[in-house]
């Protein structure tokens, strides 16, 4: 049936997109960006004690943002920390992803006050939000696996540009939350 029958055994055929997705998915190196309580749970995931993030190819926590793909924002981001966070994000080389770990990083959590940025998405684009205060290590693993699934299916080149455009458009047309009425669906 085509090319597969002509090549010798031991070869797999796939698309560049799928191959890149597969590679990126399984070597998702996080930057150590521990801020508060969540950072301790992140360390619990990182240490081989019980959760062992190495099973999912993400055990290589990099202190240097240049070598990291995933920024796990683990904890509350203060107004003083926000510019630092943004600089670190800018120093990471693309492709890069951001995981907002915990209620504070996602939305400011219980600290709705003068000191805390009400969600890290005010500073950097977030790919996946993880609820909890702090989230259990299993939840962090789950978030990383879900993100890996996203990465696995990421399109490249023109396809990616097309998808970004569609998502942007959908977001622009979406109804703002405060205009939504009725049941919490």
């Amino acid at each position: 049936m085509g090319l597969e029958e002509k090549i010798p055994s031991g070869f797999l055929l796939t698309t560049v997109e799928k191959l890149a997705g597969y590679m990126r998915k399984n070597s998702l190196w996080p930057a150590t960006f521990g801020l508060a309580c969540c950072a301790i749970e992140m360390m619990a995931v990182g240490s081989a004690a019980k959760y062992d993030i190495a099973r999912f190819g993400s055990e290589v926590f990099r202190a240097s943002p240049r070598q990291a793909d995933l920024m796990i924002v683990a904890g509350r981001v203060s107004n003083k920390m926000a510019p630092v966070l943004r600089q670190i994000y800018d120093q990471m080389s693309a492709p890069k992803w951001v995981l907002a770990m915990g209620a504070c990083a996602s939305s400011g959590g219980m600290f709705n006050n003068y000191a805390i940025v009400q969600g890290v998405d005010h500073v950097v684009p977030v790919d996946i939000y993880l609820p909890g205060c702090p989230p259990r290590p299993e939840m962090l693993l789950d978030a990383i696996i879900k993100l890996q699934e996203q990465i696995n299916d990421t399109k490249l080149g023109a396809n990616r540009a097309q998808i970004i455009k569609e998502v942007e458009l959908a977001a622009m047309n979406a109804k703002p939350t405060h205009e939504m009425k009725g049941l919490l669906a």
Partner: protein, 445 residues
């Protein structure tokens, strides 16, 4: 720096040339710095650095590899917790304080609750079972906190396996926490008047088993570092701070005890009935990082001893109340495991909804409005894993705190960074800071 980097340029200032290092070719950087003919280099470490124990920023003035001046910059995790508490009821306050020093949440809660109880004048009315549970939880917490201190401290000095084992022990403690409070961290379990709920079935058995397991494991873990020649070389004689230095800087906790002074508030100014337990105050006389490390290692065993005594006491106090009898303070909640795994006891809800309007009103008022605390101020200090944790609380007689301030041992002790590291090598500041064990959530609040 040969190529222009938009985020890390080198630039001329009045203080001389400033290089920003954010990766790239180190040889080129060294060459550039060499060209300036400067002996003195100011290096900024952090606030995002793997070895600074959180979002701590260190500004170091170096001559070669010797630190001539060290300054710590903090505030990167300032959360406004103290101000936020002024807008919440006294009971809700525990939910905030628990997130300050996130490695010792139960110590924060206890300090806060003891201060609130002092203002309420109910210090002597706290049921014994509640006090024993508090002590047991605090000592378990001390173990989990010391485990993180030892594990990350070792990691920062380059030893990774102690961290794996330390976090394994920590998990053992967190499983107990989860069983009793429902949460691994930030429990808000200790409340003004007692504790939130009684121990679940099987908790004491589990604690007994865990204590046995931990005692065995601690002995194994100790062999990883004690006597290890690399570890000794990295820690002995490093971060020296003697008794005079400690008193001047107001330092407490393991750092003070490493000077040989057995200053432990659990012994000297007992709270929660600590005078009824047998344990030793661990000291060292080396005033260095190694001494502080040994103190933390040996305090684990003392904590296990206290926990065992607590379990014995709790077995005798089975069924005793865990909340103060005053129904104007104690929440009427009778928590039980419902069909959805959480919530109030259905019997209790049936009773207040069906038979007693007064109870329902009372319940509602107490939860939404809270109780009034007579005006005044109180300062209560307890021995947290890092030293004297003091809660200063002012009440104006309302249902909310007028002002809450925490005297955080991490905040105070971090001032010793300069005294401990100036004149030493740049690599040793890591060990010195790790031996203070600052928790940035506590430092910045």
């Amino acid at each position: 720096m040969t190529t222009f980097d938009p985020y890390a340029p080198s630039r001329e200032t009045t203080e001389g040339k400033v290089f920003s290092v954010t990766g790239g070719d180190w040889d080129a950087l060294v060459q550039d710095i060499g060209a300036t003919k400067e002996e003195r280099v100011v290096v900024n470490m952090g606030p995002q650095h793997p070895s600074t124990h959180g979002v701590l920023r260190l500004v170091l003035e170096l001559e070669g590899e010797t630190i001539t001046e060290a300054r710590a910059g903090i505030g990167y995790l300032h959360t406004g917790i103290e101000k936020n508490m002024e807008y919440r009821s006294w009971t809700q306050g525990t939910t905030f304080v628990t997130r300050m020093d996130y490695l010792g949440p139960l110590h924060n809660e206890t300090a806060y609750c003891l201060a609130v109880e002092k203002l309420l004048g109910i210090t002597n009315d706290i049921p014994e079972r509640a006090s024993v549970i508090r002590v047991m939880m605090m000592e378990l917490n001390r173990i989990s906190s010391h485990m993180v201190a030892l594990g990350t401290g070792a990691l920062e000095l380059g030893a990774i396996s102690p961290m794996f084992f330390a976090f394994r022990e920590r998990e053992t403690v967190l499983e107990i926490f989860e069983m009793i409070t429902g949460l691994r961290m930030n429990m808000a379990y200790i409340r003004p008047g007692g504790v939130q709920q009684d121990l679940p079935e099987g908790a004491l058995t589990k604690i007994r088993d865990s204590v046995k397991l931990m005692r065995k494991n601690f002995k194994e873990n100790a062999t990883l570092l004690i006597g290890n020649s690399i570890w000794m070389k990295r820690t002995q004689g490093i971060g020296y701070l003697d008794l005079a230095g400690c008193t001047t800087l107001g330092i407490t906790g393991p750092v003070l005890r490493s000077t040989g002074l057995p200053w432990d508030l659990r012994k000297l100014q007992p709270y929660c009935g600590y005078e009824n337990y047998n344990f030793d105050v661990v000291t060292a006389d080396t005033c260095d990082v190694y001494g502080r490390f040994l103190i933390r290692m040996n305090e684990l065993e003392q904590s296990l001893r206290i926990i065992e005594q607590c379990v014995d006491k709790l077995e005798k106090l089975e069924g005793a109340p865990v909340m103060v009898a005053d129904k104007k303070i104690a929440w009427p909640a009778q928590l039980a495991l419902g069909g959805d795994g959480l919530g109030n006891s259905l019997d209790h809800i049936r009773q207040i909804m069906g038979t007693s309007m007064e109870s329902l009103i009372h319940h509602f008022k107490l939860v939404t409005e809270g109780f009034h605390v007579p005006a005044g101020q109180a300062y209560v200090a307890i021995e947290s894993p890092r030293g004297e944790l003091g809660a200063s609380i002012v009440s104006d007689g309302g249902t909310k705190p007028y002002r809450v301030h925490f005297r955080e041992p991490s905040f105070n002790n971090l001032q010793a960074t300069a005294a401990m590291s100036e004149g030493g090598m740049v690599a040793d500041i890591i060990g010195a800071v790790a031996s203070i064990d600052p928790v940035m959530g506590g430092v910045d609040r």
